[in-house]
C-alpha cells in the first residue's frame, strides 16, 4: 500500500539519528512512539509510573542502539516492540530475557536499499492485514502480545478448551500469512 501522511518514513529518521545524532529526528520518533509504548506497557500490566519510566528507558535504548536497527529486517515499530517487550520482562517479571546471538552484520554490511523498501512494504502490508482481521481474531492477537494471554486465563474467560485457543491463535497467524501473499 502507498505511504500515507500518517505513515512517515521512520527509516530516514533512524538514519539521521544513527549518522548525525539528530535530536529533531529523535523527537519525531518520540512523539509518535513514546505514547504507544506507554499505552502498550499499561495494557501489559504496568502502573502509570512504571510505564512512564519504562517508556523512557525504551526510547533511550533506541537512541543508544540506533546503529543496530536494520530496516531490511524490521520496521521501526517492530524493533521498538522488541525493546519494549524485553524491558517489560525485565521490569515487571524481574527475569532476564535470553536473546538469540546477533547475526553478523554491521556498518560494513549496509542494508541494500531495495531490500529496505521491499521489507518496509511487507511490514505495512502485515499491519494492514491485522487491522482488517475480524474483531475476535485481532483481539486475540493483541492480547497475546500485551501479555494478557496466559492461555489458561483466556480459556476460563471464553469457556473454550485450551487446545481450541491455541489452534485459533495459529489460525489467526496463518490467515495473516496468507493475507500477505
Amino acid at each position: 500500500p502507498p505511504r500515507s501522511p500518517e505513515d512517515p518514513d521512520w527509516t530516514a529518521a533512524m538514519e539521521r539519528i544513527r549518522t548525525a545524532r539528530d535530536r529533531a529526528a529523535f523527537a519525531r520518533v518520540f512523539r509518535h512512539f513514546a505514547p504507544r509504548v506507554k499505552g502498550f506497557l499499561i495494557r501489559s500490566g504496568a502502573s502509570e509510573a512504571q510505564a512512564e519510566d519504562c517508556m523512557q528507558e525504551v526510547m533511550a535504548t533506541l537512541w543508544q542502539k540506533a546503529h543496530l536497527f536494520d530496516p531490511a529486517r524490521a520496521s521501526l515499530a517492530t524493533w521498538i516492540f522488541t525493546i519494549a517487550r524485553n524491558r517489560r520482562i525485565d521490569a515487571l517479571r524481574k527475569e532476564r530475557r535470553p536473546e538469540p546471538e546477533d547475526l553478523a552484520w554491521g556498518p560494513e554490511a549496509e542494508p541494500d536499499q531495495a531490500d529496505v523498501v521491499a521489507f518496509q512494504q511487507e511490514a505495512r502490508g502485515l499491519a494492514a492485514a491485522i487491522a482488517a482481521l475480524p474483531d475476535a481474531q485481532r483481539s486475540l492477537i493483541e492480547r497475546a502480545y500485551y501479555g494478557e494471554l496466559s492461555h489458561s486465563q483466556i480459556a476460563v474467560e471464553t469457556g473454550l478448551p485450551l487446545g481450541t485457543i491455541k489452534s485459533r491463535i495459529r489460525l489467526a497467524l496463518d490467515r495473516l500469512r496468507h493475507a500477505m501473499t
Partner: protein
C-alpha cells in the same frame, strides 16, 4: 550447520517466545535454537513483526508533563555501547554461554551418576534449565514430566526411539510421554534440558537419588 537441523520449534513455542510469555528457561532454549537455526529465526522475526503492528496500533497513552524534554536531556549522558560480540563458533551459542559462564570445558560439571554430568543454570518455580554432558552410549535416567520439556542438542547426538537428535535439534516431550534419550556411541552428547516443574524420575534408584542430586 543450520541445514542439518531436522527437529524445530513449534509455532506455539515461537509465538509465546515472541509475545514474551515463556518462562526464562524456555526462553533460553528458544534463544539458543534461534542462534543455530536461520529458518526458525525468520519465523520468530515474522512474529515480532506482528508485535510491531500491535504496538503501532495501540492507543497512545498521555505522557507525563515534560516527557520529551526529560528524554532529550538524558541522551548525551548515555554512551553508545560497543557493537555486539561476533559469533564465537564454540559449542555454546552466546545466550547459553552467558548463563553457563564459559565454554563447556571450563564449566563446573557435577557428576550425576554413571556417564552423566550436569550443570544447573536456572532453578525457578516456573521451571529449570540445565546442561547435560552424557558419555557416548549412556542414557539419561528414565523420567516422566509434569509439564513440557525441551531438550536441545549442542554437541554430539542422542537417539530416542527411532528419532535422532544432533546439534540444533530440539526434542519436545510432555507429561504423557515416557522417553529414554541415549547418547550415540562416540563423543559425549552435550544438551540443554529445560522443564516446567521438576523432573519426576521413575524407577527406584533414580527416585531415591532425586533429593540427593536435586534434579
Amino acid at each position: 550447520m543450520t541445514d542439518t537441523i531436522t527437529h524445530h520449534l513449534t509455532d506455539d513455542l515461537l509465538a509465546r517466545y515472541c509475545a514474551g510469555e515463556l518462562s526464562e528457561g524456555f526462553s533460553l532454549a528458544v534463544a539458543t535454537h534461534l542462534s543455530l537455526c536461520d529458518a526458525c529465526r525468520a519465523r520468530a522475526e515474522a512474529l515480532d513483526a506482528v508485535g510491531g503492528a500491535v504496538l503501532d496500533a495501540t492507543p497512545p497513552a498521555p505522557l507525563a508533563r515534560g516527557a520529551l524534554d526529560r528524554a532529550l536531556a538524558g541522551l548525551d549522558e548515555r554512551p553508545s555501547p560497543a557493537a555486539p560480540p561476533p559469533r564465537c563458533g564454540g559449542v555454546l551459542p552466546a545466550p547459553l554461554r552467558d548463563y553457563a559462564g564459559g565454554e563447556v570445558d571450563s564449566l563446573r560439571w557435577r557428576n550425576m551418576g554413571p556417564g552423566v554430568e550436569s550443570l544447573l543454570l536456572i532453578d525457578a518455580p516456573e521451571g529449570s534449565a540445565r546442561l547435560f554432558r552424557i558419555r557416548g552410549g549412556s542414557e539419561l535416567p528414565d523420567h516422566g514430566h509434569r509439564g513440557t520439556e525441551l531438550t536441545l542438542v549442542l554437541s554430539g547426538a542422542f537417539r530416542d526411539g527411532d528419532a535422532r537428535f544432533a546439534r540444533g535439534d530440539v526434542e519436545i516431550a510432555d507429561e504423557t510421554m515416557q522417553h529414554t534419550p541415549i547418547a550415540e556411541p562416540g563423543a559425549p552428547c552435550i544438551c540443554l534440558a529445560v522443564t516446567e516443574g521438576r523432573l519426576r524420575f521413575r524407577g527406584l534408584l533414580p527416585r531415591l537419588a532425586q533429593p540427593f542430586f536435586g534434579v
